[in-house]
């Protein structure tokens, strides 16, 4: 008989498979590695189209696609108390001990964290993005984050810049915030067995074509580089509102044969696009932690990136060895591309890949996250009154509003307990898939 899992974790976020992105991949890979370490992981997210209900993914990962409709940018409609019954049911059924929420922009995550705290579970939050402080959207988002993190046990950020940003936005004490970076699946992102010839140098760009990801910088940089180097061609993968500007740029400078636009690239095909190239170009204007750069480095491509956000921390291996950084200015980026092209002959993709395997691995991330969970479980239990005092410090008016919200949540929870006592919720059996065969506990 298999021993009972040491930790039982519920990952909550609006962003999960079948969507593809940094947060989604992070949750998936982290869950897989935690499962291999012997813990139990359950994921909760909102329904994607027809994909609703309970699904099982690789390794026995159970995913609850809660039938709530997303309303803007894949986030659920915020009905502050609407998710309480379903969250309570899932937490009781799976006998969860730690709830781990992802991404500040996900309303489902904030609501689940709030309900989990009300019911006395331990809560961990991971922030994946950088936000500003000045515009109306950011101010609102930061206040919501302050509320969510007022009573949290531990928090995780994906880079040191992200840690500074989160601490400033939420007023959390820095000792509570752990820095655990993302990693890359080096088994999937292997370099090509035969390196493409360097007669024609291919520069690959794969990103969403939006303002935030620097699509406008691309529009300025590509014609300049094509003029300077007749043997360079570009491959642009990804789609978005700035697609039109790139097409216009192609026509204006007659670069149809030198700039190839692939449209949206599904995640499974990203590697095959990357290995056709020699250099990877990332022009984003802000980035908490750029996984795309790691994927490119793992495939043996030399990276040219803008020096923003958390990128410098992730890429300073040896001076200008695996990555060339530039300011988000077209001329500086052209200079960086020139430098990259000049050091291209000395690059060995296999050696780069092996180094990446040592520097970044999801198993390491999972082990460090385990430490955070253990630390969270050691935090003392607090009753309602003690927790309310933490919310009061959020602001003169906001503090009192948050206290009211939490009191109502507590009362609703007690009401639910009266209507459907805890003992009546059926507990789900644990199913483990080991290498030696299936053992049902």
């Amino acid at each position: 008989m298999a021993e009972p899992p040491k930790l039982r974790v519920l990952m909550v976020s609006d962003f999960f498979f079948p969507n593809f992105g940094g947060v989604e991949n992070h949750i998936y890979y982290l869950s897989q590695c935690l499962l291999k370490l012997g813990h139990k992981v359950v994921v909760m997210t909102h329904a994607y189209g027809n994909r609703s209900g309970v699904r099982y993914m690789t390794g026995g990962l159970k995913v609850y696609y809660v039938p709530w409709r997303p309303f803007v940018m894949q986030t659920t409609f915020p009905t502050v108390y609407g998710t309480l019954p379903i969250v309570r049911t899932i937490l009781r059924r799976e006998k969860i001990t730690v709830v781990h929420g992802h991404q500040a922009f996900s309303t489902l995550c904030h609501e689940a964290l709030m309900h989990a705290r009300t019911m006395g579970y331990k809560v961990v939050f991971t922030d994946h993005s950088l936000y500003g402080f000045a515009d109306v959207g950011s101010i609102h988002m930061n206040k919501v984050l302050q509320f969510s993190l007022a009573d949290i046990d531990q928090a995780i950020c994906v880079s040191h810049t992200s840690k500074e940003n989160t601490v400033l936005r939420s007023g959390l004490s820095p000792a509570k915030v752990f820095m655990i970076p993302n990693a890359v699946d080096t088994a999937m992102f292997k370099p090509a067995s035969v390196r493409p010839s360097t007669d024609v140098i291919t520069i690959v760009v794969i990103s969403r074509l939006v303002y935030r990801k620097g699509a406008d910088l691309l529009v300025e940089v590509i014609p300049k580089v094509c003029r300077l180097y007749p043997n360079v061609r570009f491959v642009v993968g990804g789609d978005g509102p700035k697609h039109v500007r790139l097409e216009e740029m192609r026509e204006k400078h007659s670069l149809q044969d030198r700039v190839e636009m692939l449209g949206a690239v599904p995640h499974s095909r990203v590697r095959s696009v990357l290995i056709t190239g020699h250099v990877f170009l990332n022009s984003s204007l802000t980035e908490a932690f750029c996984i795309a750069i790691l994927e490119a480095a793992s495939c043996g491509l030399l990276t040219v990136s803008t020096r923003v956000g958390g990128v410098p921390e992730a890429c300073n291996v040896l001076p200008d060895d695996m990555v060339v950084l530039a300011e988000p200015d077209p001329d500086d980026m052209v200079r960086a591309i020139e430098k990259a092209i000049s050091i291209l002959p000395s690059i060995n993709p296999e050696e780069m890949h092996n180094r990446m395997k040592k520097l970044y691995s999801w198993q390491d991330v999972a082990k460090r996250t385990e430490i955070v969970y253990d630390r969270a479980l050691k935090c003392s239990n607090r009753n309602l009154l003690e927790r309310l005092s933490r919310y009061l410090s959020c602001g003169a008016w906001a503090g009192k509003l948050f206290c009211m919200v939490m009191i109502v949540d507590y009362l609703l929870w007690r009401l639910l307990q009266l209507l459907q006592p805890d003992e009546d919720i059926e507990e789900a059996p644990d199913i483990f898939l080991h290498h030696h065969g299936e053992k049902i506990n």
Binding site: R212, T286, V308
Partner: protein, 303 residues
């Protein structure tokens, strides 16, 4: 918590601000270095303001308030029939002439004769058009009750005052940098509609024409004239504003004592209390910049 064994034979290596390579030996993941928040910059772009300068700048606002108050006074007197249509027409002509004179005097570039003739032609078109359309304005709101008209007029004027562009000139003055934006267009429209509503309550067609001409002249051209005066000489601007304030206060006092008190209170609020309040609030300003900010593009995106 950090396990730092003092006197250990292998001192732990220095902490580095990097993300690769796994956990750093001897340091927990929540270790906070002294370099934490080192690159944060506070209040980099905040303008330090001086009380006297803010008070002098607020004179533009109270000047415009006085202009609008004078317009309302003329409307009230016309509606009470204490001002007849001939004196109104005389007022219009004199305002037009004086406005033109001021523009001519304050413009550094001498206006050529052809430009002057073109202006005169435009003005005559405008006036003729207004005269022809006057009967329409007169019967426009016949079916609406007077109370609704006064309520709508007051709210439109308040909207006009809120959204008005106090630093600009409403219509693009020669040499002005700012193009009119959305809020200044909305405020201009609000004032024009308010004048139409008031004009529609008047007895005769000539009354309607005179009041419409007066209101449109003031709302369209007064900002331009005051902008030119301010550009020409700040001292003249201050003198003009104080003269206007004096005239307005006197006229309002002659009309109704309560309104006089309210108006005086408003002028003091705008000129004295609000600047002081603004300076007091500046100490709470907390602007945060750092490496997490989105990079600003140094070039303009031309579509």
């Amino acid at each position: 918590m950090d396990n730092n064994f003092a006197g250990d034979s292998n001192p732990r290596p220095k902490w580095r601000k990097v993300a690769y390579g796994g956990m750093q030996i001897g340091y927990d993941d929540n270790y906070t270095d002294e370099s934490f928040l080192e690159e944060m910059v506070m209040n980099a772009n905040v303008v330090r303001r001086d009380l006297l300068k803010v008070m002098k700048d607020s004179v533009s606002i109270s000047q415009y308030l006085c202009i609008v108050a004078l317009v309302v006074l003329v409307w009230v007197h016309t509606l009470e029939s204490s001002l007849d249509e001939n004196s109104l027409l005389l007022l219009d002509l004199s305002l037009l002439a004086s406005g033109f004179l001021i523009l001519l005097l304050t413009e550094e570039k001498m206006l050529s004769l052809s430009l002057l003739l073109r202006y005169l032609l435009n003005i005559s078109f405008f006036t003729t058009g207004l005269y022809i359309l006057a009967p329409i304005y007169q019967t426009l709101t016949r079916s609406i009750s007077s109370d609704s008209i006064w309520a709508v007029t007051v709210s439109l004027l308040l909207l006009h005052l809120f959204l008005h562009d106090y630093s600009g000139s409403t219509i693009k003055a020669p040499g002005a940098l700012k193009h009119p934006n959305l809020t200044s267009c909305i405020s201009l429209n609000a004032s024009v509609v308010a004048s139409v509503f008031v004009a529609s309550r008047l007895p005769s067609r000539l009354h309607v024409f005179a009041v419409m001409l007066f209101s449109l002249q003031v709302f369209l051209f007064a900002p331009l004239v005051t902008y030119c005066i301010k550009k020409f000489s700040f001292g003249l601007h201050l003198l003009f504003s104080f003269a206007l304030m004096g005239l307005t206060l006197y006229s309002v006092y002659a009309l109704h004592k309560l309104f006089f008190l309210v108006f005086l209170f408003l002028v003091l609020l705008v000129n004295v209390v609000c600047p002081y309040w603004l300076i007091k609030m500046q100490e709470y300003k907390f602007e945060i910049n750092g490496p997490w900010d989105e990079a600003k593009l140094c070039f303009d995106i031309t579509d």
